[in-house]
Point group: C2
Chain length 338, copies 2
């Protein structure tokens, strides 16, 4: 029988993910039953939310149970099939396992078209999670209007890099918050952010006020903590805070993080603060993906992928997200471009 | 010339309001110029937000400046007039001064009709601030629907006591959170709350889960701190948090209060958290007040006023709000019912 490597959730981390949090094991694959198929994983998407799936928080999704295989978003190729809905050679995407191969009846996976002109890695990296997240956050939750001043935190991250460009396409003025001069330069010169703020330079409120003296209409929040506080301080009356992520607290474990100290501005500035989870919108993915793919092909939507080779490096790579160590959308190439 | 007593903002409190925060002085009134009128204050409304007007927070309104007269919501009678828009003997309401008499051109004041069957104190106590606040919060911000489970904190306070009844009139199931057995008994037996929770008994999350095992659709928040955290913990997916007040932090002064530790639930439960200020809706007051007055006259809307006699007691009385020392809508009777 064929074998596969597969990551398992071995030990719950108290704070940072550690070397023994997940364990890579080799196991034998079962033969395909009627209705099943064999998937070969091409890429894993490494997303900030994965840390939460290893926690005991009360989540928007079932967490990974201790001892179970690690879950994540994947793109895979059908290499054998006894399921008429999935042809050999076709691609699928969905919530899969961190594994070279998977035997599945297909539940949780959707077909993914091959897009002429877009390599699989790029299509998956932008269209599977980050792109729809940016689109939904801006349009469905933030309800951005042309002329709005939109501030995006973790602007150089997977979601942030897309968000700023989509806001600009819609006619908004964009401010990106990122860490370090190189990321800020890239956001402004390559991605077309109108303004950038390097949070490592401190004095966030002053920096924001310098570029947005009239305040922020829509804050697209990916970080939380002091960065969110600075944003809340600088909101316009009747502004909107789209809460997409709060990565600064994801390693806190069971310890309760103090919330935003400027929470009172929800009243003082009459804010709407609204959170969302991209998975709730999965039925509308084809619509979002069509728009996003067109902009990618036209060169209007730029992106930077940070691809790590080898399933065996997945755990170590995941840690990069929580130390801002990634440089673009973080992915693991398990079996290369097919 | 006639004299008046008037409260002035004398010393900024660091935390609790103190005996020297405001100072009562006696001064001479000017003669009426053309276009002016002389108001005799009947009642002051004591509202939790007044503490903020004495702070250095960045507010939704101009604060009271050190050395300036104290502001507040009042109902007053026109006792002399050189302004054709305000007849002697008529009533006005608005943002006035803590003063026996005021000379004004009328800006900031609106006429208040005398409602047959409703004493001025009752009409002012319910219709000026608390009633419209409850109505706007539930309908404009909370968008309550019949069948919703609505939890109201500070449920025995001026706004809370009205909010629960309006939610019930709309067909919602209501849970009131208040401090102490007497208040809880009153909410349930007299005001018709479906469930009551005494926060002084502790274990808030357990208490909420016992009466709302499926969670809360709409949380009407007046308090903040641990009470808000418990509410956030028990929200349903896609629920709404109406932030009307955060009284637990109003005495914190310049010290920044940690925000809600369960803020992450804005994502996990996909919440909309929205704040509002009743003053933004002043144009629509007549509509709200007409509905509220009709329910008062029909006996469907009950209330409890906590009336303190004498302008000289205004400062001491205001402190009651921040120690839950009031028992119903807190007001100062300056010149009795006219």
């Amino acid at each position: 029988m064929a074998e596969t490597r597969r990551w398992y959730f071995a030990r719950r981390p108290q704070h940072e993910i550690e070397a023994d949090t997940l364990q890579l094991r080799t196991e034998t694959l079962p033969a395909l039953a009627e209705g099943q198929m064999l998937l070969r994983t091409l890429y894993l998407s490494l997303d900030a939310t994965l840390r939460l799936w290893l926690s005991e928080w009360d989540l928007y999704i079932d967490p990974v149970k201790l001892g179970d295989p690690m879950k994540g978003f994947v793109v895979a190729e059908v290499v054998d099939s006894r399921n008429p809905n999935f042809a050999v050679g076709s691609l699928v995407t969905g919530l899969g396992l961190w594994s070279d191969y998977v035997v599945t009846d297909g539940s949780g996976y959707s077909p993914m078209p091959r897009l002429p002109g877009l390599p699989i890695g790029e299509a998956f990296g932008v269209l599977a999670i980050a792109g729809p997240t940016a689109y939904i956050g801006l349009h469905e939750i933030g309800r951005i209007k042309p002329g709005d001043t939109v501030m995006i935190t973790a602007a150089a991250g997977a979601v942030g890099m897309i968000t700023g460009q989509l806001a600009r396409i819609h006619g908004c003025r964009t401010i990106g918050v990122a860490g370090g001069a190189e990321k800020c330069r890239w956001l402004k010169q390559e991605l077309g952010y109108d303004e950038v703020i390097d949070y490592k330079r401190g004095n966030l409120v002053e920096q924001i006020r310098a570029v947005a003296p009239d305040g922020i209409d829509v804050l697209f929040e990916n970080v939380g903590g002091e960065i969110l506080d600075a944003g809340l301080t600088c909101m316009k009356n009747f502004g909107t805070v789209v809460v997409c992520g709060l990565i600064s607290s994801y390693n806190d474990g069971e310890q309760r993080t103090p919330g935003p100290t400027m929470f009172r501005n929800v009243i003082m500035r009459r804010l709407r603060i609204e959170g969302f989870v991209v998975l709730d919108y999965i039925d509308r993915y084809p619509d979002y993906q069509q728009k996003l793919a067109a902009w990618m092909l036209e060169g209007r939507l730029k992106y930077r992928l940070h691809v790590v080779d080898g399933l065996e490096n997945a755990l170590e790579s995941l840690k990069l997200l929580y130390s801002s160590g990634n440089n673009g959308k973080l992915m693991v190439r398990v079996a290369g471009d097919a």
